[in-house]
């Protein structure tokens, strides 16, 4: 057990997986000589050499396609897309090739590749570099979409992603890279498709993933001081989606708030809210509330950017309003 950053957990896991399986290789822009825009691949070129840590041209469609081909022929490529925004250049490769090949060719070949990519705003990177568009991929059968929120999950879920035989979009978050947490040394492999109740509570269920799962935990801790018992569910896997865990929690608490970094309309929160009403209708004491980003392209100005993103304050307000609607005493 050691306390390390989310960034370190990713780096250690990549390194360990490369040692474990010589078919694991890395591709991406500036991941070698420059050691990665966010330094996830620091030291790996030196350790594993150019054959397994490949700097690519600025051509996402090309190197994602190359990774798909490599995966079809038995390698286990881990692609780094500098941000999820750049996945838009490669979206045809991801959706029309990576996700479809196994099914369209009768299972003759699987595509065991991972696309690691950070999403998230809050870094003043402007509207085109601050998006949370994992929804595009969570929508696609044939893909798996994982979104760890802690260093321990980053490690165990990256292991699972690399060892899985299907293409996995592995969502990281700029706001999580420097967060620290305990990571067990046991090399545990996460079960893909499982959400987790990361904090038990009785008054209300607060659901999030990636950065929002972390913020949800902060909200729960803050409200615990006011004697409000919040149960936090970290979705962890957006596809497959673990509706059972969400529904079981809401059946227990009778109320739910979903927090998401992406936009509200048609968002992942909408899918969760719909799943809750399908699975827990008779247990709901109040409408499911969604807290999401403002419906605008992300502003550059810091105060506006902060205002556009969901925060501990805005989620706390939504939780308290929902609780007051069900007659629970809130401060």
């Amino acid at each position: 057990m050691s306390v390390i950053t989310y960034r370190q957990a990713l780096r250690d896991t990549l390194r360990a997986e490369m040692h474990r399986d010589e078919n694991v290789l890395l591709l991406g822009e500036e991941i070698g000589v420059f050691e990665g825009s966010y330094k996830i691949t620091e030291g790996l070129l030196k350790e594993f050499g150019e054959r397994r840590v490949r700097d690519t041209p600025i051509a996402e469609e090309g190197f994602v396609g190359a990774a798909i081909g490599a995966a079809m022929l038995g390698l286990r490529p881990v692609v780094e897309l500098m941000t999820i925004n750049f996945s838009l250049i490669a979206i045809d490769q991801i959706i029309n090739h990576a996700a479809k090949i196994y099914g369209m060719f009768g299972g003759q070949t699987s595509v065991p590749m991972v696309i690691r990519t950070p999403g998230g705003g809050g870094q003043q990177l402007g509207a085109t570099h601050s998006q949370n568009i994992e929804l595009f991929y969570a929508f696609i059968p044939g893909l798996k979409v994982l979104a760890p929120s802690t260093p321990a999950e980053a490690a165990s879920m990256l292991r699972a992603a690399i060892r899985d035989d299907d293409p996995v979009l592995f969502l990281e978050n700029l706001g999580l890279y420097n967060t620290k947490g305990e990571v067990p040394d046991d090399e545990s492999v996460a079960e893909i498709g499982r959400a987790a109740v990361t904090r038990e509570g009785t008054d209300i269920t607060l659901i999030g993933y990636s950065r929002m799962a972390m913020v949800a935990t902060q909200v729960a801790e803050k409200l615990a001081a006011e004697d409000i018992s919040v149960e936090v569910v970290d979705l962890r896997s957006l596809r497959p989606l673990d509706r059972e865990t969400v529904v079981a929690s809401v059946r227990k608490t009778g109320a739910a708030v979903v927090a998401e970094d992406d936009w509200l309309t048609y968002g992942i929160g909408a899918e969760i809210a719909a799943s809750i009403q399908e699975g827990a209708f008779d247990y709901l004491d109040a409408p499911v509330r969604r807290v999401a980003m403002a419906e605008v392209p992300m502003p550059y100005a810091k105060p506006l950017e902060s205002a556009a993103l969901p925060s501990v304050a805005s989620i706390t307000t939504a939780v308290k309003e929902t609780l007051s609607a069900v007659g629970k005493r809130v401060g």
């Binding site: 009778g254 509200l264 209708f281 008779d282 247990y283 709901l284 004491d285 109040a286 409408p287 499911v288 509330r289 969604r290 807290v291 999401a292 980003m293 403002a294 419906e295 605008v296 205002a307 556009a308 993103l309 969901p310 925060s311 805005s314 307000t317 939504a318 309003e321 609607a325 069900v326 007659g327 629970k328």
Partner: protein, 441 residues
């Protein structure tokens, strides 16, 4: 133009039968007029119009069963059914459309004014929800959880004041009401009593040929369905045990004659059953352990003694309840029972007159039945089955003599009452009936 919906007329009602239409299509209707008689799971009740107009449509025929909320008829401004019908539909559609436009605009406005980063789902949902038109406007706001809990507690959600947004009834309100009910020791809101001893006739299955003697389905009302459901539940869930005792009824017979002589001028006549009901109430006062209910792993001892009297009616068996039987004068027991039984036969009992029982008496003596074992009427803990009075050869002071006797059999819920406790109750009841002056002391 407004639609009339199948109303919710009792706690446990889920559907109702149109017993009879009092108003015919084309009849003028004034607010307060009885429109229709509806048979619920408990009784036939009159349902009144809430507005003036003409009954332009009977959407449900007499004898048909429909769930709560279904349209059963339409009241229009003119007696002409056709124009009324069309106009109603169109007007309704237009109103909905324009209203939802307005709602959309409102929602948009709300969006602009919102704090960034927090989507206020609740006002939005309420703004875009179809506007409550017509009778829906009166529908109480309730959360799904509150509705489910109300069903489980047997509470009428319509009678509960909501504390949520715009008066929405939420879990906290239901739990408060359930707590209040528990503290009042009031079993009234628990599922109301009905009972029948008769098993449903079921025809031999699998007869492929028709010789005119095949089984036929008999159309049954809600009362029969409730009897079936509740008796099944009782026999499946309540561990019954039975205590039998035959009493010497000579003194009771003389006492009854004496009382009725005293009451001759009033026209009131006290029956043996009245005496037994009153004696049971008196004895229950002294044996509160029997005046109890086992509900959800809890034992409730009731402060009031409300004895239900089984009455056979065409629809089945109903059990009107004499509230506070223990404090009711004997003559009142007689008159009230007569009155309730009369209305039971007409199907006109109100739900509250059939709920809240803490003990029941069922008497088949008039049919010459020696004795029988009755099915407990949950949540009551016991029921007394009374057989016929008949002359028996009994040994008294070493001599065989002919005496009038009545066989009593007490069915007891073993979860709430143990054998010795039940036996002590039955012993004292027998002693009271054999020294009947004690009934009224």
């Amino acid at each position: 133009m407004s639609e009339i919906y199948m109303p919710r007329l009792s706690d446990t009602m889920e559907e109702g039968v149109i017993s009879s239409w009092v108003k015919k299509v084309g009849d003028k209707v004034a607010s307060g007029d009885v429109l229709v008689e509806i048979e619920t799971d408990k009784a036939v009740m009159e349902y009144e119009a809430y507005e003036d107009g003409y009954l332009v449509k009977q959407a449900v025929s007499e004898g048909d069963t429909v769930p709560i909320g279904q349209v059963i008829g339409v009241i229009g401004d003119s007696p002409d059914a056709d124009t009324g019908d069309e106009g109603g539909t169109d007007a309704g559609g237009d109103a909905d459309e324009s209203d939802s436009d307005a709602a959309d605009q409102e929602a948009e406005k709300g969006e602009e004014g919102e704090d960034a980063g927090s989507a206020d789902a609740e006002p939005r949902a309420e703004a875009t929800a179809p506007p409550a038109a017509g009778d829906n406007a009166d529908r109480p706001r309730t959360s799904p959880l509150a509705r489910r809990l109300a069903r489980e507690y047997g509470l009428d959600i319509a009678s509960i004041q909501g504390s949520g947004p715009k008066g929405r009834v939420v879990r906290a309100d239901i739990e408060a009401a359930a707590k209040e009910q528990r503290e009042n020791g009031d079993a009234a809101a628990a599922p109301a009593p009905e009972r029948a001893a008769a098993p449903a006739a079921s025809g031999p299955a699998g007869q492929a040929y028709d010789d005119g003697r095949a089984s036929e389905e008999v159309k049954v009302g809600n009362v029969r369905k409730v009897i079936a459901r509740r008796l099944t539940q009782s026999k499946q869930e309540v561990p019954h045990f039975y205590l039998r005792r035959t009493i010497d009824a000579e003194a009771l017979k003389a006492f009854r004659a004496q009382i009725n002589e005293q009451l001759a001028d009033t026209g009131v006549k006290v029956s043996f059953n009245d005496l037994i009901v009153k004696a049971a109430a008196t004895t229950l006062r002294a044996h509160p352990q029997v005046n109890a209910s086992w509900v959800d792993d809890r034992l409730l001892q009731h402060g009031r003694v409300n004895v239900g009297v089984a009455v056979a009616v065409d629809a089945g068996l109903v059990v009107p309840v004499l509230h506070d039987t223990d404090t009711m004068p004997l003559s009142k027991v007689a008159t009230t029972t007569r009155e309730l039984a009369g209305r039971a036969r007409d199907g006109k009992l109100k739900p509250q007159e059939m709920s809240g029982g803490t003990f029941s008496v069922s008497n088949l003596g008039m049919f010459g039945v020696d004795s029988f074992s009755a099915v407990i009427n949950p949540p009551e803990a016991a029921i007394l089955a009374v057989g016929a009075m008949k002359q028996q050869a009994v040994v008294r002071d070493g001599e065989i003599v002919a005496r009038n006797t009545i066989a009593l059999e007490l069915s007891v819920d073993h979860r709430a009452v143990d054998g010795a406790v039940g036996a002590a109750f039955l012993k004292e009841l027998a002693e009271v009936l054999e020294s009947p002056m004690r009934i009224i002391l």
